[in-house]
Symmetry: C2
Subunit: 141 residues, 2 copies
DNA sequence: TATTGTTATACTCTATAACTATA
DNA sequence: TATAGTTATAGAGTATAACAATA
């Protein structure tokens, strides 16, 4: 039993994709790709991971994640260290330079969004804040 | 004069990127990429375009757009026709098969979102609807 | 045998540079 | 000359298949 599609669903789809695109345009390093930045955020926020764990987190294959990690390691943003207890595993961790890229990008993105929020009246600002909390509560990655 | 970054801005950033990712996972054709679908939506909604116009719309170079249009043309989703008045130009238009892909993908995405909305109480559903309208009003592409 | 990571190969999207055809 | 489109080439992300090292 499927319900009808409401205008709210179409509006929410269009609004979300448009805003997401604008948010992603705010980066501290223009040459950094979405795939690279996603890995950097994962290891910055959630600590060191194995290659397989990173691949599963982003829903890509291990060879694909391997290439992305290679580029981040070459740039000095992450480090690879062999796991002591299980020597098949490699632990990928954030480097200080990587953390700086993450923090600066988040500052830019949130700063841009803050400018958007500051231009709204109190009711609209409260509505967007409430909507964000509902989405974070209901939608899981 | 820059204001402080509020938790609302960070929440809105995280919620928007997470929801956008989930929306994009809903496609009628799994092999269709974001770049291809974006072009298809443009010509479906806004009519025929020249190659340069399509490239500018999506913020990519002409050679890059040319490759994407090539793949869509090979798949039978768009058509290329020489402009009669200025024969340097090529008009790219949606084909019926392309429109069907667009419509089916939008149906899937909106249907998935509708399921999300249906699971909420009236207040939360109204909040998301209001938030979408605020974003569509304030954020332009 | 199973798991972890890597390499080999191939396809798409991205770019810049250079070229063709037309205005 | 300038513009519109295309081709050539290269770098990065994606995948599957096959491999080495380790458990």
């Amino acid at each position: 039993m499927t319900s009808e599609i409401s205008p709210e669903a179409s509006d929410l789809r269009a609004a979300t994709l448009r805003l997401a695109r604008r948010i992603r345009q705010n980066r501290s390093i223009a040459s950094m790709t979405d795939a690279q930045f996603a890995v950097l955020v994962n290891v910055h926020l959630h600590g060191p991971h194995t290659l397989t764990a990173l691949a599963e987190r982003d829903g890509v294959t291990a060879p694909s994640m391997n290439r992305t990690v290679n580029s981040l390691e070459e740039a000095g943003y992450v480090t690879r260290v062999a796991d002591e207890t299980d020597r098949r595993k490699v632990i990928i961790a954030i480097a200080p330079e990587g953390s700086e890229v993450v923090l600066e990008t988040l500052r830019r993105r949130d700063g841009w969004l803050q400018g958007l929020l500051d231009a709204l009246d109190d009711d609209d600002r409260a509505t967007l804040g409430a909507a964000a909390r509902i989405i974070l509560r209901e939608v899981h990655r």
